[in-house]
Symmetry: C2
Subunit: 198 residues, 2 copies
């Protein structure tokens, strides 16, 4: 099944924005990769920024199928799922020889004078990711000390992932990612209720 023109444009733009960034991706790049002509692109989108908005919608709507489902295949324990998600990012770092950057995080820092609607959609993507992690934490609520703020902790998982990916990419060394995740794991352990060893 051949995808329709609009979908081909969004797919191509999604990949190019990730590989090269938004400003370094030209309309010509998108046309070339999607095998679409200029007139068709401008038939579907008023301009380049609108392609970006469609890409951000695609990321937001695809978080379940494209990110969480593969990360969580065969894993049921909610806390293991949090670290399985982080392991998926580790795999992306390895697969890209440490050039991987989170597409949302990279766009969030690249776009300086972003239209409010762009910024809002970036935030929506972060929120979707954090909500998925928070749901895991809430499912494991009994294992955390009473009063643990799962919202703040879920945000912190994103914080650490983004900062860790940034350093692994800059140093081209996954060990920076691993050390950060190890620190996060230690923090998690300290928030858990102390179990009596059987």
């Amino acid at each position: 099944m051949i995808k329709d023109t609009r979908a081909r444009i969004v797919d191509a733009a999604m990949e190019l924005f990730w590989l090269k960034g938004y400003n370094s991706t030209s309309i010509a790049d998108i046309l070339s990769r999607s095998q679409v002509n200029s007139g068709s692109l401008y038939h579907f989108f008023p301009g380049k920024q609108d392609v970006l908005l469609a890409v951000l919608d695609a990321y937001r709507d695809g978080i379940g199928e494209a990110l969480l489902k593969p990360a969580w295949a065969g894993i049921d324990d909610p806390l293991e799922r949090v670290f399985a998600l982080l392991r998926l990012y580790r795999g992306l770092i390895i697969d890209t020889e440490c050039e991987y950057g989170c597409p949302i995080g990279s766009l969030a820092l690249e776009l300086h004078e972003a239209d409010p609607i762009v910024r809002t959609k970036l935030a929506e993507n972060f929120t979707g990711w954090v909500n998925a992690v928070k749901a895991c934490l809430d499912s494991a609520a009994s294992r955390f000390a009473p009063g643990t703020d799962t919202q703040a902790l879920a945000e912190f998982v994103l914080t650490v992932m983004e900062g860790a990916v940034m350093q692994a990419r800059t140093y081209r060394d996954v060990a920076f990612f691993d050390r950060a995740i190890a620190q996060l794991a230690a923090h998690f352990d300290n928030l858990k209720v102390k179990e009596t060893v059987v």
Copy 2:
């Protein structure tokens, strides 16, 4: 005292790259802000990327005077200094109405097909920052549990700062930064030796 031409170019580029990003800053922007003519810029620099390299050198060489000195004025305790540095970033977020982005982190994610020399200089900047934090942690070594990895912990401080700045900027809300730093502080507390209350 009027700065020489080269310094004016570097100053202007440093500010513009921070405000708009590298790709969105044109040579014309730099010329306009520095009040320099095209011929002069190309007399000092072969091209735009070489201006970037000079900017990255300036950040690296200025970390003490421009960042640590103001952050640490009047603060002697090494652990307090770590969080004072983070408070400085909080001030930058507030002062910019939550548009602040770490100039090094933003460039690290914006530049996708970066020349190795650019990437190396970005890493040098991270290393300088982490080394300053690590020196604080080592000065307070007696207050951490034996065997605490101060290198990994210093890297983690950078990880959290970068991830926290990214979210505060994307949501335009400093509370995201504050919550991340609170989590980091809790992690620090858990690494400390348990003091007997007097």
